[in-house]
């Protein structure tokens, strides 16, 4: 098995793991962690699957670089919101969905 395919498979395990974490966890920091794992899974698949013949492909690599920056931007925003929510309500979980 090629290195590319192996890590793509790891990504295929990481992504659902992250999604499940995002859905199941209630603690906001944990959900942010889960989101990052999910993103890493997608990145591994993007590069790994493209390099399943173990020849480096710069195109997906550049895409992942972009993706990492986007992910950190989203993470920072999520943390800012979490900290603000905590400062306002003292809670680290989202309230249940109930509107009017």
């Amino acid at each position: 098995m090629s290195t590319g395919l192996l890590f793509a498979l790891v990504g295929a395990a990481l992504f659902p793991m992250g999604v499940a974490g995002l859905l199941v966890q209630r603690h906001l920091l944990r959900r942010i962690l889960a989101f990052n794992l999910m993103g890493s899974g997608a990145f591994l698949i993007l590069v790994g699957l493209a390099q399943r013949q173990d020849v480096a492909d710069p195109v997906p690599q550049a895409m992942v670089l972009t993706g990492i920056v986007v992910a950190v931007a989203a993470t920072a925003l999520a943390l800012a919101l979490t900290r603000r929510l905590y400062a306002l309500t003292g809670r680290l979980e989202l309230p249940d969905v109930e509107h009017d």
Partner: protein
């Protein structure tokens, strides 16, 4: 089995383990540290995928900055709750 493949498998197992642990660990600070570990292992994986650019970025941004942000947030939140307790 070649040494490279063995290393790859070990690395894959390490990635999955640290990811799983950081999701399921009962203590949040441990979870964050495991996440940073995951990031560092991922850096190795990128190196194995002949993607040193991503490796550098992952180490600096994925593990480094994200980890620092998470730790800082954790510290701040813990501080806040301590303050609550002391009040």
């Amino acid at each position: 089995m070649s040494a490279a493949l063995a290393f790859d498998l070990l690395l894959a197992a390490g990635l999955l383990w640290s990811a799983w642990q950081s999701l399921s660990s009962a203590r949040l600070d441990r979870a964050i540290l495991l996440f940073i570990t995951f990031g560092l292992l991922l850096t190795l994986a990128w190196a194995r995928l002949s993607a040193p650019d991503i490796g550098l970025a992952e180490a600096a941004i994925g593990a480094g900055l994200t980890g620092a942000l998470l730790l800082d947030a954790y510290r701040a939140l813990k501080q806040g709750s301590d303050a609550q307790v002391n009040r």
